[in-house]
Symmetry: C2
């Protein structure tokens, strides 16, 4: 199988590694506007060669679009124009705006909208790792709009990555992603900003006091700015809804502390403890990947 | 050395394990109002025997007070009354109110105010583990108020636990603890409450979408309610200040999203990325301990 990967960063590069080592792909062509990333992708063995977009697409069986969401939205229609009988999969973290963009495209059937939910706080081709996706969740949206052969080859690909695929509507995906994933990132960004702000005279003091709990909650604040500004803006309506609920929960903690209401504080923490079984169901190994 | 540990939970039990295996203690007596915890502490080999408070203190060389902060504040003066030439260390996560409480006690010098900064989201004697404290930070407050022999034996004890001890004033400790540790816990509690609130019709949907990032940011929401309600209330003034700054940072994200201000959002994330080197300086292994 000839695979083209547009965007050879953390996600595209990690997909390339597994597709190659598994034998799913016998040839991988990379496409990237960042020349240096292309050179790293070749020297790290992620891809066999780098090509310009148009010539790369010509030879492909499958095209994987793994660029930041704004780039993907700029590229998707042009790729579908020339897709012929090939299959294209996008792996963006938001799905509504990109699926809406091509919903009436004559070649919509050749496109599979996916979100393999794996990542790290690192980015770029040097961040690509083996088995990033193993045992993690993949979401495919609007599967009924994809041709059955495109859907099948995509499912084979995600099976090769050892992912568990679930199906959702795009809007439903984006609502859940805002609540579970995007809100976590903002909570972590804001935590980093707060601590850096408060401790700005002596940031070294943060190191003295920072233990495992702080590391855990603030780790996502290392995430790539370009990737995340685009995700958050693309999903801004759902993210704002989630943020409103988050700040109202924080206000309840403020109220309990201001009024020294021990019963209220106790109940808030006991209620939040109910997340325990859900946390326990997520593998620890997922955390650092 | 005869060591008495009051409160044989996660912290007290883990201290007991290391003091015993290292040979620092040749006898460990536990004290706990929870009879079942006492039985577990004996059967898990954390302590040699359980005794009532008064008779336990009589035989001790060192007394470690590792109960929730309100219990510690209720017990500390009574223990100091009978301390003689023994040493008492408290290990509460807040330091100002407890050191203020005994600042004029005639035996203040026998007391060392410490905060060994280690923990997990679990609690009770079954959560006690070996080497919980290794390579982590210990804070000792108001060291000049402790007698030199009490300070020395306490430093020996924390060295035995392989901790790095720093010195601070109580107030300074509580301000930093609010910003770095206590705020992280509230951000995580509120995140759990938000996600459970939004996804209340189908909590199973959280599992489908929850990946490593969510696990990491929400993990602290499993923390023990009694422990944390007491810490947060005891340090409420500093925690409220930190919470105000945190919510104002979240408001900046809201503004950037509402106005679709990509430059502002980019700058917020880039600024939060500055926490990266600090996160990297905290050992990964600390995260799950």
């Amino acid at each position: 199988m000839k695979v083209v990967i547009i965007g050879v960063g953390l996600i595209g590069g990690s997909i390339a590694k597994d597709l190659k080592s598994s034998g799913f792909a016998n040839s991988i062509i990379g496409v990237d506007e960042n020349v240096q990333h292309g050179e790293i992708a070749i020297s790290n063995g992620l891809v066999d060669e780098m090509k310009p977009l148009d010539s790369a697409i010509q030879d492909a069986d499958i095209i994987i679009l793994s660029t930041p969401v704004e780039v993907s939205k700029n590229l998707i229609s042009g790729i579908l124009d020339k897709i012929g009988s090939k299959t294209m999969i996008d792996v963006c973290s938001t799905k509504k705006s990109i699926t809406d963009l091509v919903k009436n495209h004559k070649n919509r059937g050749r496109y599979v909208a996916a979100h393999p939910m794996a990542g790290t706080e690192y980015s770029g081709p040097n961040a690509a790792v083996d088995k990033l996706f193993e045992n993690k969740t993949n979401i495919i949206c609007e599967k009924e709009k994809s041709d059955s052969d495109s859907l099948k080859i995509s499912l084979d690909l995600f099976d090769t990555l050892k992912m568990n695929t679930n199906f959702m509507e795009s809007n439903e995906h984006d609502v859940h992603a805002a609540n579970v994933s995007h809100l976590s990132h903002i909570s972590s960004f804001a935590l980093a900003l707060s601590v850096l702000d408060i401790e700005n005279e002596n940031p070294e003091d943060i190191k003295i006091m920072a233990a495992g709990g702080f590391r855990s909650t603030v780790r996502l604040a290392k995430s790539d700015a370009r990737t995340w500004e685009e995700i958050l803006l693309d999903n801004s309506e759902n993210v704002l809804n989630a943020l409103d609920i988050y700040t109202s929960q924080l206000e309840r903690f403020k109220e309990a502390l201001q009024t020294k209401n021990k019963t209220m504080l106790n109940q808030l923490i006991l209620d939040s403890n109910k997340i325990g079984p859900i946390v326990d169901s997520i593998s620890k190994s997922a955390e650092e990947k």
